[in-house]
């Protein structure tokens, strides 16, 4: 079963980390990601540029589009990346997410499959 793992964290915290801290953290994340990929638990995923680069397009009822600067919602935790998990059930997805090596929050959502 496929799940989307949204990885969110405090952009301020990430921006405030020293070069060495970032290097160590990215090193751990890279190892973690490779391991999950080799095990077939992650099929795809990416880190995203910070929300300062985000643009939101909103479609109104009448179909017209409005483009605004910034992400969906302003909050403390911003989505900074995602992974698509291929695992047996929610427990396995939670087990994968629980080993994520950085102080972030991870939201796990099943992916809709249409018959």
């Amino acid at each position: 079963m496929k799940y989307m793992m949204l990885i969110a964290g405090s952009e301020d915290a990430w921006a405030g980390r020293s070069e060495e801290e970032l290097k160590a953290l990215y090193g751990r994340i890279g190892e973690w990601w490779d391991e999950q990929e080799r095990a077939g638990r992650i099929v795809e995923g990416h880190e995203l540029q910070p929300t300062a680069t985000a643009t939101t397009v909103r479609i109104a009822q009448d179909g017209s589009a409005t483009v605004t600067d910034g992400p969906f919602a302003e909050g403390k935790e911003m989505v900074g990346g995602y992974g698509i998990l291929e695992v047996a059930d929610l427990d396995e997805a939670l087990a994968v997410a629980s080993t994520w090596p950085a102080p972030d929050a991870l939201e796990i959502r099943p992916i809709v499959v249409r018959d």
């Binding site: 059930d89 929610l90 939670l94």
Partner: protein
């Protein structure tokens, strides 16, 4: 012909015991929670018809299971996509008739599996409680609603949403493996204890369904204890509940007001039940894996062993609170420890222990009530009164409110 009323009575008795077992087995086989519940309901309706004319079967649980399985096969026959599940149904039905008992180890496992699903951390606490009572405890939705003083529609919606999440997010039906088990079992015990307290803290004037929750929780915990006999904390929680229940009769006066432990008529405690609970606790302690519930039960046991309030072994109780604080360093544990210290060293010593907890417990009515009691004993009547007022403002429980109002009433006005 069997008397209609006798059939009704026997059926609700059997359902109380068997509903969770039947539902759990069918959920496992069919993977469809709603269908499983419908089939159990269908089987119950069939029982009303058949037991009236043919008499009550010798093994009513097995009869219901066989009927529910047959109805499942009827329903699924038309649906090709259920073919695999149907094979499983018929294969297990064959095995069932080979063994005569209702509750083979397989079905015991089903209930346990379903309980872990009901108490999955991906579900909200409210949903965990409602699902557990509904599915494993065999309570109907209206009964759950009345017990929690929540509109029936709210409970029904919680259950529907939780089931939907279980299905759509694919929360598995299984007993967690050894690595996951401690936190997951902790989750289950938290839910059971919460249900227990909901009932136990209800005052005697409230709906009986609400008070029955304590018995329901005790029943569910004893079920878990039977299914997981080697888990010390399960036995600890069971002993804790049973000691509480053994003293339940002495907790309320005739007018429904709370009687504090100090003032309880200890002759009204059920000594045999306490002895039996102590045996359970001793079994837990012999496993050599202490835990929070075992320690709380041991504290209750120390109180239960004293024939008078004056004979309470306070030093032992303080030591048990110290052990509990090492596992669970919460301010509430500190509060109870302070009260025990006050019994040994006096009210002023107890107040000194309470002091550092004030900030974190400021919103907790029992902190203010306890502080009022110690202040009064220390001769500080005015401050005591202020603390009682603060406690009164923080609780909605009618029995507790009455107790506090009485205290305030007998105080000279400031």
């Amino acid at each position: 012909m069997t008397d209609r009323a006798a059939v009704d009575e026997r059926l609700s008795e059997v359902l109380r015991e068997e509903r969770g077992r039947l539902t759990a087995a069918l959920v496992r086989i069919l993977g469809d929670w709603d269908l499983a519940e419908e089939l159990v309901q269908d089987a119950a309706v069939a029982a009303l018809e058949h037991w009236g004319t043919d008499g009550i079967p010798r093994n009513p649980g097995a009869w219901l299971m066989t009927t529910a399985r047959r109805k499942a096969v009827d329903r699924l026959r038309r649906q090709a996509r259920y073919r695999e599940r149907m094979e499983l149904l018929t294969r297990e039905a064959a095995q069932m008739s080979a063994t005569t008992a209702t509750g083979g180890p397989m079905e015991a496992d089903d209930r346990l599996r379903l309980l872990f699903t009901c108490c999955h951390p991906a579900l909200s606490r409210e949903a965990q409680v409602a699902l557990t009572l509904r599915t494993i405890g065999g309570l109907e939705t209206p009964a759950v609603a009345r017990a929690f003083l929540v509109p029936e529609a709210t409970i029904a919606q919680r259950i529907v949403r939780a089931k939907r999440k279980i299905r759509d997010a694919n929360i598995p039906y299984r007993v967690p493996d050894a690595a996951e088990l401690p936190p997951r079992l902790g989750e289950v015990l938290t839910v059971l204890y919460l249900i227990f307290n909901e009932g136990y803290l209800a005052s005697s004037g409230e709906a009986s369904e609400r008070r029955d929750l304590a018995r329901d929780a005790e029943w569910l915990t004893s079920l878990v204890a039977r299914l997981m006999p080697d888990e010390a904390e399960v036995l600890g929680l069971l002993a804790l509940m049973r000691i509480h229940l053994a003293r339940a009769d002495a907790r309320f006066a005739q007018d429904g007001s709370i009687v504090l432990l100090r003032d309880q008529d200890r002759a009204r405690w059920d000594r045999d039940a306490i002895e039996a609970a102590l045996t359970v606790l001793a079994r837990a302690e012999r496993m050599g894996r202490p835990g929070s519930y075992q320690l709380q039960a041991a504290i209750l046991a120390a109180h239960a062993g004293a024939t008078t309030w004056e004979a309470t072994p306070w030093a032992a109780i303080v030591a048990l609170y110290d052990a509990l604080a090492r596992i669970e360093p919460t301010p509430v544990v500190g509060l109870n420890r302070a009260l025990a210290v006050a019994e040994i060293e006096g009210a002023a010593a107890g107040l000194r222990e309470l002091e550092p907890l004030g900030e974190r417990l400021d919103g907790y009515h029992l902190y203010h009530a306890a502080r009022a009691e110690l202040l009064r004993r220390d001769g500080r009547a005015e401050e005591a009164r202020a603390s009682d007022m603060r406690a009164l403002a923080l609780t909605d429980n009618p029995a507790e409110r009455r107790l506090l109002q009485e205290r305030l009433g007998v105080q000279p006005s400031v």
